[in-house]
Amino acid sequence: MPNIIANFTSKAYLAANPLSLFSMTEKHLEKGGEEAETIVGSSVKVEGDFVSEGNIIILGQVSGKLKTAQQLRVEEGAKVLADVMADSAIVAGEVRGNMKLANTLELTPTARVYGDVATKTLIVAAGAILHGHAIMDENEKAKGKAGKKVEEYEENIPGV
């Protein structure tokens, strides 16, 4: 076969993990539980409008805008320089920007948030830093659907 390389299981591919193609066991194709749609690794930088329909885990750096219809996790050491809209969020890293959550915002002891926060439920652990206004409204769920512009949220915050 001249066009397609006959060694489909090419050396370079197999060098990465020799078991990859040969161990298609049920285990690794198993349909797991809740799965993160997007993971931003620790050495990765993302710039721009980042919109997702699933869960997002951030270990690296994100700048621009960040929206998801589901959960956001900002891990320890991660940096988010963006306005955030999500259903709920757990923050252990740093967020510089306004956050709007439809349900819950949880700040762990290592969390640092520099911006205004609007959420239905706010959980702040001892040691967490929050620099900004915090608005807790029972009706936030209806307002906080992903896809709504952050500007609209800013208009709703008194004094912003």
């Binding site: 397609i4 090419s10 993990n17 690794h28 690794g41 620790s42 993302v46 980042f50």
Partner: protein, 308 residues
């Protein structure tokens, strides 16, 4: 006819024998026409219509002596299910796209690839956009990983899946506007930037990464964590920083970093220099790769034990 039946009960038996002989003769004629590929055009059309427009593309290796028994078994099962059709033996230089296009003009509706993983990607990387339903009969015990993903058992048992005709729509993409991409793309090491859906840029220029785009096969690293999504209308790109393996863990004390994962419909991968890219087994050197998920889906006959 009725009176004859009444007269002689023995005739009933004779009649059924005659019918059976007739059926066998028909099958023999059909087989000889297809095998010799020498039937008249009208005859071919008629037979294709009868067989539901099936054509079978045999890879060159299945014509070897070692596969003869398997192929005989497959052909017998196909005849049993009355889904036998025209057999085309692929040679090294056959362009599957031109061949299938020609057969579509003659009424082919289902194209069954008979071979292994190489046959699968060789045909689909060129012909995925053609208006036919694809089937796959994996032959032999080796290099048949896609069969497992698609839930198709090996050799003659696959004929049951073809006969059952459970059709699923699968995603496929176009690479650099020339080649179709069905299964996986892998870049062993590169510094690069990825522009996804025109809205955000993933910057991977700090260090070298292994990059894998997965559709029908998981990426070659940490593959125990993956669930395949070949029907969600998106491709998944996985990025893992180089190093952090057992050696660098022992020598440098460096830990393996968390892998990254993004979904996209259109992605432009820009490498800092010409880099080795393996797309569905085909190796090339590229400076940039544009991957676009096609709006049309690939229609594929799958088994109920498929992995997605």
């Amino acid at each position: 006819m009725r009176s004859m039946k009444k007269i002689s009960p023995v005739f009933k038996k004779n009649e059924s024998d005659t019918e059976q002989i007739k059926r066998e003769l028909k099958l023999l004629v059909r087989k000889s026409i297809f095998k010799n590929n020498a039937g008249s055009a009208a005859g071919r059309v008629m037979l294709e219509k009868k067989s539901g427009g099936y054509i079978y593309l045999y890879d060159s290796f299945v014509q070897d002596r070692e596969c003869k028994a398997i192929i005989n078994g497959i052909e017998k099962r196909l005849r049993d299910f009355e889904i036998s059709g025209k057999i085309i033996k692929l040679s090294t230089f056959t362009n599957p796209k031109i061949l299938i296009e020609d057969e579509v003009r003659h009424g082919a509706k289902t194209v069954v690839m008979v071979g292994n993983d190489e046959t699968f990607v060789r045909i689909l990387s060129r012909a995925a956009n053609l208006p036919v339903i694809f089937g796959f009969i994996p032959v032999g015990q080796r290099k048949n990983h896609f069969a497992d993903v698609l839930g198709i058992p090996l050799n003659e048992k696959a004929c049951e899946i073809i006969a059952a005709r459970k059709i699923e729509k699968l995603d496929y993409a176009t690479i650099n506007e020339k080649q179709f991409f069905i299964c996986y793309l892998f870049i062993p090491r590169a510094r690069l930037k990825i522009e996804c859906d025109g809205s955000f840029i993933v910057n991977l220029t700090q260090e070298k990464f292994e990059v894998a785009v997965a559709n029908l096969l998981p990426p070659p690293f940490e593959s125990d964590k993956f669930v395949l999504h070949p029907q969600d209308g998106k491709m998944e790109v996985y990025l893992r920083p180089e190093g952090g393996g057992l050696f660098s863990k022992l020598v440098n004390g460096k830990k393996r970093q968390q892998m990254s994962r993004f979904l996209f419909k259109r992605a432009l991968l820009k490498m800092d220099k010409s880099t080795l890219v393996i797309a569905d087994g085909k190796e090339t050197k590229e400076n940039s790769i544009l991957i676009e998920v096609n709006k049309e889906k690939l229609l594929m006959i799958v088994g109920k034990n498929r992995r997605f």
